[in-house]
Amino acid sequence: MSDVIDLLHKAISKSPAEQTELVREAEEFFLTRFAENVIHQNMGRSDSTIWCRAINGRKIGIARTNELRYDSIIKTILRAHEISLLSPEDAQLTGFRKSPKASPSRGFHESTALCPPAARAEAVGKIVGIAERNALSAAGMYQTSTTSLAVVNSLGTVQEDRVAEARLSLTMTGSEGRAGFAQAFSRDVTRIDVEALAEAACRKAEKTSEPAALSPGKYTVILDPEAVADFLLFLGFLGFAGKGMVSKRSFMADKIGSRIMSELVSVYEDPDDDEMAYMPFDYEGVPRKKVALVENGIARGAVYDNYYASVMSLESTGNALQPGNSFGPYPKAMSMLPGKFPLADLISRANRAIWITHFWYLNYVNPMQTTVTGTTRDGTFLVENGKVTRRLKDMRIQQSMLEAFNNIEAVSVERRVVPKYGALMRVPTLLIKDFNCTAVV
């Protein structure tokens, strides 16, 4: 047993509450930012947080600290206990559970955890070299981090593990508004092909013709994985989350078992996916499970923590967020199954389409209809007769995501892992008809 678990056990034994839970999250985070072909920031951050949840009857209190001394943890436990006694009763509160030991993490690589600043700088040097050879300007960020999580509760739950991750995102910009975006994610930093990523961004920013402006209207579109992931993340927020199922503010409420999308769409919460390898348990210490969200276009389920699962008479799927959050459980590692078309075939199938590589500033317009608005950015192209023919000016879109996912005509074999906020999504490229573009930006 580690020193951290020992410390949490020792502290929890002193709690006056009927039930007590301690969660300790530690992060080692390193970042290099660059712009205009120059590194302008290097930083590192090391921090830990301990949360305590104390339950007395049907009352719960939550407190936290980032002072890791034993006496500070005891003070935090006593504060959570006092808060619980002063809190109103929650009739739906059922108490903590004892969770079985989770499988060991597959998401930790020393190559990432020990990646030195010089390695990040060397990678940025390669990116800048490629930018300069193409008369472009590179901007972006390269980050590596390690997250350790430990959960102990007075019912006997004991979990501790860690994951590492590397993220590289970059934008190449040139004259006349030309821009290309690319990003990569891996648990193992050595698997990120920096040069290939920079070349991919350059190709999107290549000097071709002047960008054309298309009239607003409905178009067939090709969505790169980054754009697909934006939609999937919003569907996760709006529909695949247990709190929305309980309050019926999810478009999935009352639709389980019904067809809601094209039969080409299957989405799973799949934390054990080889490429995502998410932390194997959640902030309540519950092992994360594989959950069918949509199978062949049929709504199958949502993700839950202990509280919302209990309200729905279900079991937690291991998707609790940090204690005290107001969002409820969210999916964190969504996998959309691949299709049967190689990417090149998918483009060649399009007679006339807009190739969207990236969305910018999506926001919902009508959550129950899953309508969002936003703009394209950093690489929008016209595809004619199966070939990319010219650059386009960016466009504002306003589109129901369910409608778009119902209008899918082809799904690529190839998939990429796209990180967005705290979530990962492994998604393919999609060919979608009747996509609503409302204005030229």
Partner: protein, 120 residues
């Protein structure tokens, strides 16, 4: 820009609404999106009321308005007076990679804007 204030004008709310034959009084904010050059934008509200013949009439749900920043501000022909002015703001103005939050405040009174594209 964490503290950006629009100075008040001289109109009462009745003056602003009374000068509109056919419009929408947009109340509450629920959705916001603007392009990376801060030009084309679209904002949504939870609640609005139609303005017909200078009077508030039917409630409309989820109205949206969209425009270009420069066109929009050039179309402003009236701002509410100091009695209508207050500080608004947001606790989660997000920027950067990786994302960072800023607390921001914006002072404003109601404004009247002509010939703006609206929808729902």
């Amino acid at each position: 820009m964490t503290n950006t204030n629009l100075m008040p004008g001289q109109y009462t709310l009745n003056d602003l609404i009374g000068g509109i034959d056919d419009g929408v009084y947009m109340e509450t904010s629920s959705s916001w999106s603007i392009d990376d050059m801060r030009q084309n934008f679209q904002f949504g509200c939870q609640f609005g009321r139609l303005i017909e013949g200078g009077k508030l009439t039917t409630i409309v749900k989820n109205p949206i308005y969209t425009s270009d920043t420069v066109d929009f501000w050039n179309s402003c022909d009236g701002l509410g007076d100091a009695s209508l002015w207050r500080i608004w703001g947001t606790p989660n103005c997000g920027k950067g990679q990786p994302g960072q939050n800023a607390r921001t405040g914006q002072g404003a009174s109601p404004g009247r804007f002509r010939r703006i594209k609206v929808g729902r």
